[in-house]
């Protein structure tokens, strides 16, 4: 079973939920936790027990380059590039390696063979294990914009490991990187706070999931810190509220320290509810 964890708003507790759910499931089943928040991957900090260092492999894509560094504009390729990676300056074409997504469209269109491809590293995939838990982490190279390609690669790595449960820690937002991260999941758990900001962004995430046809449920985090109405959204988007995690000082301290709080009674109770909900689905 593949469980995506998303939120819309950042900082609502996606990673907190992902690491505790993964730690719990790994007690009795083969579990993979894959960190797809490739711009801010933080889940590894919560598993100091896991073997260090992570094995690491570069993520590279094939990008276009001019055979001779630059070439004359014959209008065959520049107008085709949807990413603005090929610019014509005074009749001379240049390819911007940072913008090329490696689709190969220009290469196929060039009648003169002026374009070839070379690999470019855009991120890293890390992996380690701890008992029945496999940890996979995608990480985007700083300054790069191709997050979705790193997410794809981390998903492939995670899929190649046998699992009963795969937990995906997704990026915030409700657009391309989040869509890519959630794609293929059996269910997406949305972590929301009872605040106006969070509920507004929850609506966007629910619409995204509805459009993708992915089953969804809401986990309320930091319960008691606001009165915003998330229940109406839960009804409208067919997303049951399956657990509530209260805001407590001890959970806030654990969160700040980047430490798991497996023994916390409030959190354990919420994780129990989620596990039994998932169990009933499968």
């Amino acid at each position: 079973m593949i469980i995506a964890i998303a939120s819309g708003k950042g900082g609502t507790g996606k990673t907190t939920l992902a690491v505790h759910l993964a730690a719990r499931l790994a007690k009795f089943s083969d579990t993979t936790l894959v960190d797809l928040d490739v711009e801010a991957p933080d889940s590894d900090a919560y598993f100091p027990e896991a073997q260090r260092p992570y094995t690491s492999a570069a993520v590279s894509i094939r990008i276009a380059e001019a055979v001779d560094g630059e070439f004359a504009d014959t209008s065959a390729c520049a107008s085709l590039c949807r990413f603005g990676a090929i610019v014509s300056i005074k009749g001379i074409l240049r390819i911007n390696a940072g913008l090329c997504k490696g689709c190969g469209r220009c290469l196929r269109a060039c009648p003169k063979g002026s374009i070839r491809e070379r690999p470019m590293v855009i991120g890293q995939i890390g992996e380690t294990r701890w008992e029945r838990l496999t940890l996979v982490r995608g990480s985007l190279a700083i300054g790069d914009i191709r997050a979705t390609a790193v997410i794809d690669e981390a998903k492939k790595r995670a899929a190649s490991r046998p699992f009963d449960f795969q937990i995906r820690d997704c990026p915030p937002g409700a657009t391309c990187p989040t869509v890519r991260a959630a794609h293929g999941a059996d269910i997406c758990l949305l972590v929301a706070e009872p605040t106006d900001f969070s509920v507004h962004d929850l609506a966007g995430a629910l619409r995204m999931l509805q459009g993708m046809g992915i089953a969804r449920a809401i986990v309320l985090n930091k319960a008691g810190t606001g009165q915003a109405d998330y229940q109406s959204l839960a009804m409208r988007y067919d997303a049951p509220v399956i657990a509530e995690i209260p805001w407590t000082e001890s959970l806030a301290k654990a969160g700040a320290a980047g430490r798991r709080a497996d023994g916390d009674a409030d959190l354990a109770q919420a994780i129990d509810s989620i596990v039994s909900y998932l169990g009933a689905l499968s």
Partner: protein, 294 residues
């Protein structure tokens, strides 16, 4: 006029609240530009009344006309993103995987792949509770090209600033979390970035990546530590991070529910009757002014 951005790496660090406080403090001499188009909360924080809106066109999307498709599979072979797969009757594009490169259009021998303009969202110009201008946007959930929409928001804010009388002193940009495409679009060319470091393990790690990005982009940064006082070790790490990147630390805001309550009441901190919250907003404002040489 100066362009001042709020960024953090980690989500939920307090960017939107600080951006709203600065916008409220600049008053009619400031314009807020909410560039977190994935999760736009500036309108809630500042109480926007929408004055004008326009459609935002995201660029081309692609679809396969099943009745023209000969099921030859050339498109699926051309697609490097595994976004095209065979269905019962024809090939079809999975929008969630499509990168919108259009390679399939070129290679279809039957002309069955059609490009169409995609509505990506909407761009709004609004008045805040204090009658200053907020430029914001909403992406259609699941849509692409947020970097392009970020640029559209910034360009609109700049155009309004250029025509404003009295003159605008600052455009306040609320950047998205992360370090990727929409963040780079939000921070490119800004005069000053205020890095909001959440005082915790994830907050410090994510801010470290942001500082590295800013250094590569050669952008000046100052730091605000938020939600301090929960864990002394991470408070110190947050300070150390700002120091290591030579980012002057202009404020350390404690974790205190008075900030959240003020945000919920729509006061943008600066207009709070709570003297503590309003005082913090005032001192943030004056420190940002002086760092931006205003």
């Amino acid at each position: 006029m100066k362009t001042i951005a709020l960024a953090s790496g980690k989500g939920g660090a307090g960017k939107t609240s600080v951006a709203a406080a600065l916008g409220a403090a600049f008053g009619l001499q400031g314009i807020n530009a909410d560039c977190d188009v994935d999760a736009a909360n500036g309108a809630i924080a500042l109480g926007a009344r929408i004055m004008s809106s326009e459609d935002y066109w995201a660029g081309e999307g692609y679809a396969i006309n099943a009745s023209a498709c000969s099921s030859c599979g050339a498109c699926a072979l051309a697609c490097r993103f595994d976004a095209i797969a065979r269905t019962a009757s024809a090939y079809a594009i999975d929008e969630a995987l499509c990168e919108r490169c259009g390679a399939c259009v070129d290679l279809c021998p039957s002309g069955a792949v059609l490009a169409h303009d995609k509505l990506g969202g909407a761009l709004y110009v609004s008045k805040t509770r204090w009658d200053s201008t907020l430029v914001h946007a909403e992406l259609v959930p699941g849509e692409d090209t947020s970097g392009k929409l970020v640029r559209a928001v910034r360009q609109r804010a700049e155009a309004i600033a250029a025509a404003a009388n009295p003159p605008i002193e600052a455009i306040i940009i609320d950047a998205p979390p992360g370090i990727g495409c929409p963040v780079i679009a939000s921070l490119s060319g800004v005069d000053l970035t205020v890095v909001v470091i959440e005082a915790g393990s994830s907050g410090v790690r994510d801010a470290a990546r942001l500082f590295e990005l800013l250094s590569g982009m050669k952008r000046a940064a100052i730091a605000v530590i938020n939600k301090a006082g929960i864990d002394a070790y991470w408070d110190a790490q947050a300070r150390g991070l700002a120091e290591a990147w030579n980012a002057p630390l202009i404020a350390v805001l404690p974790w205190d529910k008075r900030f959240r309550l003020s945000t919920e009441r729509g006061e943008a901190w600066f207009h709070s009757p709570d003297v503590f919250v309003a005082g913090q907003a005032r001192s943030l404002y004056s420190a940002v002014r002086s760092a931006a040489a205003l």
